[in-house]
């Protein structure tokens, strides 16, 4: 599985001071959680990591090779992204939507094969949306669409998973099952990197945390060092009460 590293990376947010350059390394087996207030650049960071946006400065490399020098198709076999919002301009079924995840793996002349279909169906099963396989995506609820988008990434099966608020719109049970799924993917050798707003999900399921502050400051490290009330209070400008439950920290607004 590939390793994504950033060297002195500064994401490009117009009109903002550079702040702290990021030196991250997404290792197999890790689940990264990115926390920060609205507008701090979490989505921009994810898009930059995926090579969809130019950084202001710094280098990105995939297995020690500069990301910009690798063909897009090969990049997309190694790294995939679940977007925060999706375009549904044209009607498409759930199964068709998951199947586009196979695109990086097929040559231009190939049609989707039986094994591609099997991979997509497995992903729909894992995300609990296989009963919707023939429904049009634009008729689904927000949470169902979110799970279809994650199933599409699972069908793509890259080594590095980038997810922009994957627990948005999900009910409590599906939030948990998605986080468990991400944990399992990491346990099987993938690197998972997600933005989220729920401190307790981050505390329960992420092992590495990146905190992004509005002025461009940032810090990162193991979850137990990062998820401490004073830092989080400064991060969100919100007083917090914390306790420990079952070995994990829990935060509620104070």
């Amino acid at each position: 599985m590939a390793i994504l590293t950033t060297e002195e990376l500064i994401i490009d947010i117009p009109g903002r001071a550079p702040g702290v350059p990021l030196n991250l390394s997404l290792q197999p087996g890790q689940v990264w959680g990115v926390l920060g207030p609205n507008g701090v650049g979490k989505t921009t960071l994810l898009h930059t990591l995926a090579g969809l946006r130019e950084p202001r400065s710094g280098e990105l490399s995939l297995d020690d090779k500069p990301l910009t020098e690798i063909r897009r198709k090969l990049v997309s076999q190694q790294m995939g992204l679940v977007f925060q919002d999706r375009q549904d301009g044209f009607p498409a079924t759930v199964l068709e939507t998951a199947l586009i995840g196979r695109h990086p793996w097929l040559s231009p002349w190939q049609m989707e094969r039986g094994e591609d279909l099997a991979i997509a169906e497995q992903a729909l099963e894992a995300l609990d949306v296989s009963h919707l396989r023939d429904r049009l995506v634009n008729t689904l609820s927000g949470g169902e669409r979110q799970r279809v988008a994650i199933a599409t990434l699972m069908t793509q099966a890259p080594g590095i998973w980038l997810l922009d608020e994957p627990t948005n719109h999900l009910d409590l049970r599906h939030q948990t099952s998605v986080m468990k799924l991400l944990r399992n993917q990491a346990a099987s050798g993938r690197a998972v990197f997600l933005c989220l707003h729920d401190l307790n999900l981050a505390a329960r399921w992420c092992d590495q945390i990146l905190l992004m502050f509005p002025d461009g400051q940032a810090c990162w490290g193991p979850a137990r060092d990062m998820l401490v009330a004073p830092a989080l209070e400064k991060l969100f400008g919100q007083r917090l009460l914390s306790a420990e439950l079952d070995g994990f920290p829990v935060f509620v607004p104070g």
Partner: protein
């Protein structure tokens, strides 16, 4: 995207286009029976019937087929490019540009190839104008492109009215027919048919990338599609198709909008199926419309664009009303 049997709808469409073509060459001011038509197509039959079918009607039928196919495929491509089912060469002002080119040539007293060439130049100019302006200094967003096209199209409309109001009355009928789309001056169908077949062949290796692009450019890039080169390729293909069609038959409206939409309602949105299907269905529609245009008020002829709109509008509205 995953079609259970893509062959069946394609076979139906091939059959439909053959039937339409057959009807089109046998029906006319002098009707020719089925047996006689078959005999002529097989290479025998009377000399008069041979001239009538092979020299007069068949070229026109082929031109109609090519025009319809080109317009439908161009419309389908632009809809993917703009991620908007409302896009088509007319909405984007491409045919407006072609019309201005053609009318200016006619106003100057030109005919034949000069008019065609001028229409082609007008279509290409309009494309450059729309896509250049929409590109601007910022990004190339679909909504900006569509809006630019709509506004440019309105501009062409004004220029067309201006030209018409300056034209001596004796030259007006020819211009009006051209504006409404007219196949009676179509001479050779081969360039159009060749381009149509080439584009349909190109669609097979490109099809899945187009499917991904229809989900948005960022999603496509994340799945390994080289978005910018692909968008330019689609744009160039669609412009070339439109310019060729408009050059052959004038401004035939509605085919590029209605045909892809109807096929998507029936067949889903796999471009590898939809684009060849558009070529066949668009061609069939225009062959039938042209046949009607020739016979409804025979010996006078209607502009084929009137028929496509009269058939297309109610069909489209009905399908839209019934769809989910």
């Amino acid at each position: 995207m995953l079609i259970s049997s893509p062959l069946k709808p394609m076979l139906v469409l091939v059959l439909a286009s053959l039937v339409a073509g057959f009807l089109s060459v046998s029906i006319g001011s002098s009707a020719i029976g089925i047996e006689d038509t078959l005999r002529v197509l097989a290479g025998s039959g009377s000399e008069l019937q041979q001239t009538l079918i092979l020299d007069l009607r068949l070229p026109r039928t082929l031109s109609a087929f090519a025009t319809g196919g080109l317009l439908a495929v161009a419309g389908a491509l632009m809809q993917v490019l703009l991620r908007n089912p409302l896009a088509d060469p007319y909405v984007l002002g491409l045919s407006g540009g072609a019309a201005v080119g053609a009318l200016l040539a006619m106003l100057a007293g030109a005919a034949g190839y000069l008019v065609s060439g001028s229409a082609f130049a007008g279509a290409m100019l309009a494309t450059l104008l729309v896509f250049g302006l929409a590109h601007g200094s910022g990004s190339w967003t679909p909504s900006r492109l569509l809006l630019t096209g709509v506004v440019v199209a309105a501009g062409w409309g004004a220029v067309i009215t201006l030209i018409l109001s300056m034209t001596p009355a004796s030259r007006l009928p020819g211009m009006l027919y051209w504006l409404m789309g007219d196949l009676s001056h179509a001479t050779t169908a081969w360039p159009g048919l060749v381009i149509l077949v080439l584009v349909c062949l190109l669609v097979f290796p490109l099809g899945r990338a187009l499917n991904v692009l229809a989900r948005g450019s960022l999603q496509a890039a994340a799945l390994g599609v080289s978005v910018r080169p692909l968008e330019w390729l689609i744009y160039l293909m669609a412009s070339l198709l439109t310019a060729t069609a408009v050059t052959m038959a004038g401004a035939v409206g509605f085919v590029g909008l209605v045909v892809p939409h109807m096929l998507r309602l029936a067949l889903g949105n796999d471009q590898r199926l939809i684009l060849p299907a558009c070529a066949l269905a668009g061609g069939t529609l225009l062959v039938l419309a042209d046949t009607l245009a020739r016979v409804v008020i025979a010996p006078e002829q209607l502009p084929v664009g009137v028929i496509t709109a009269l058939i297309g509008v109610p069909t489209f509205l009905y399908l839209l009303y019934r769809s989910r």
